[in-house]
C-alpha cells in the first residue's frame, strides 16, 4: 500500500529525504 501526501507550503519548504530512503512514523520529511 501507499500513502500520497499533497500539501501547500511556503515555496522555501525543503524535503529532508531522498528517494528509496526507509522512514518511520514521526521521522522528519521536511521543514521550512
Amino acid at each position: 500500500s501507499t500513502i500520497v501526501l499533497v500539501f501547500e507550503a511556503p515555496s522555501d519548504f525543503e524535503f529532508s529525504i531522498h528517494p528509496g530512503q526507509k522512514v518511520k512514523v514521526g521521522q522528519k520529511l521536511g521543514d521550512v
Binding site: T2, L5, F7, G26, Q27
Partner: protein
Amino acid sequence: IVDAWTQTPTKWYPLPLAVGALLLVAIQYRKKVKRARQEVELNEDGLEVIKLKGPWHVHVIGALPLRNMSRLWGYVNSFELPVWFRPYGIRLYAYAFGCNLDEIEPSDLREYPSLGAFFYRKLRSGVRPMENAILVSPADGTILHFGTVQGSRVEQVKGITYSLDALLGIERPGSPSSILPHNRDMSIVDDHEFAIVNGIEYSLEQLIGSSVPSTPGSETPSQPSASSSRTILENHSLPSDDHLPKRVGDQTDASVGSDRNAEETLAHDTSVALQMGAKSQTENRRRSITSSKHVRPGNSLFFSVIYLAPGDYHRFHSPTAWVVEKRRHFVGELFSVSPWMAKRLENLFVLNERVALLGRWKHGFFGMVPVGATNVGSIKINFDQDLRTNIRGRRPPPGAYTEAVYSAASPILRGQPLTFGEEMGGFCLG
C-alpha cells in the same frame, strides 16, 4: 522428406532491409512524439480519461480479477490460528517479511488470533518519537518519490506523471456528499480562526496542537483585545492543556491510540467557542472548500509518496497538526503499488482504490491519500466508521467518488482536528 529437402531449389532474393529499418525508426519516432506530447485524452468535462497504459505485462495483470483475489487473500488471512501454532506461524511471517517483533503491542504472539490481526498490529508507545519539524512521516515505509506539483501534474516516477485532479477528485457543484452522523448546521470560523472561552482567547493552533512543536505551558492564551466584538462564552471550559500533544524537548510519542474522549470534548468546546466568530456563511463556506487549486501567493504545492512493504507496520498517523474537512472514496482497481509496478504502470495511483482526505493545515491546503493494493485492499479511518472499501458490487467509472464531510466532528474547525502523530487508521489485508 529427404527428396523434398534435397531436390527443392533454393532461390535467394535481396531483402529490402532498408525499408524494414526505416519502418522501425518511424514507429519509434511516433512513440516518442506521442510520449513527449503526453497525449492526454479528455472527456466531455475536459477531464483526463484515466485508462490502463503501460507495457504488455501491465495489461495482463489488469485482466486478472484483482479485487476478488484481494478479498480471497483477506479471507484466508482471517482464519483463526490454533493458539499453539501462532508464535511459529507469525514468526515465520515476520522472518519472511522482515517485521520487527520487539516493538509490537501486545508482544505475546498468542494474542493475535489470525495473520490479518497481526498485520494490523499496534506499536508500543514510545517506539516512534516525533521529530521537530512541520511535517513528519505518517507511516513506516520507503520514500517512493517526492517533489513539487508542476501545473497540476504529479510525477509518479521520473518521466511518468498523473493528474492531481484525477488523484483528489474535483469539486463538482451539487456532488453527492453525505454529512456524517449527528449532523449539525455548519458554522464557520472567521479569518483569525481563534476562540474566546471564558474571556480567554485561544489560537486555532493552541486548540488542535501547533504544527511547530513547542514546550508545554509556553502558549499563554492572550487576553481578548478590547476591540474584539466577539461574544464571550460563559462556562465553556477547554480541557486543560494536558490534552494537547506534549512536546518534551520536542520529542513526542506518536499517540498510538488517540484519546477519543478528550478529542471529542476539545472538538465540542472549540466548536461552540469558535461558532461566535463566524462571518457571513457563504463567504467563508466558499473559502472553506478545500481545493488544491487556490494556492496562496508565495506558496507551492508539494507531494510525497511513501510505499509500505508487506512487512511494515500498517497503521498510519497524522503527519502534522491539521483539520480533515472531507473524504472522497474512489472505488478503483487493486494493482500492486510496489516500486516495480510504479515504474511501469502509468496512472497507478489514480487507477487504484483510495481514500482522499482533504483539509487544511497552517500553510493552507493539505491532503493525505492512502492508496490500497492487491494484498491490502481495505483502508480504515478511525474517525469515519461509515467508510467501506474493497466491497463487492458494480464498479463506478474511474474518477467517480463518494464524498463525506466531517464538519460535524468539530463544526468550529469545520472538520476532524488531528494532532501531531495521532493515529488516523490503517490498511488491512483483503
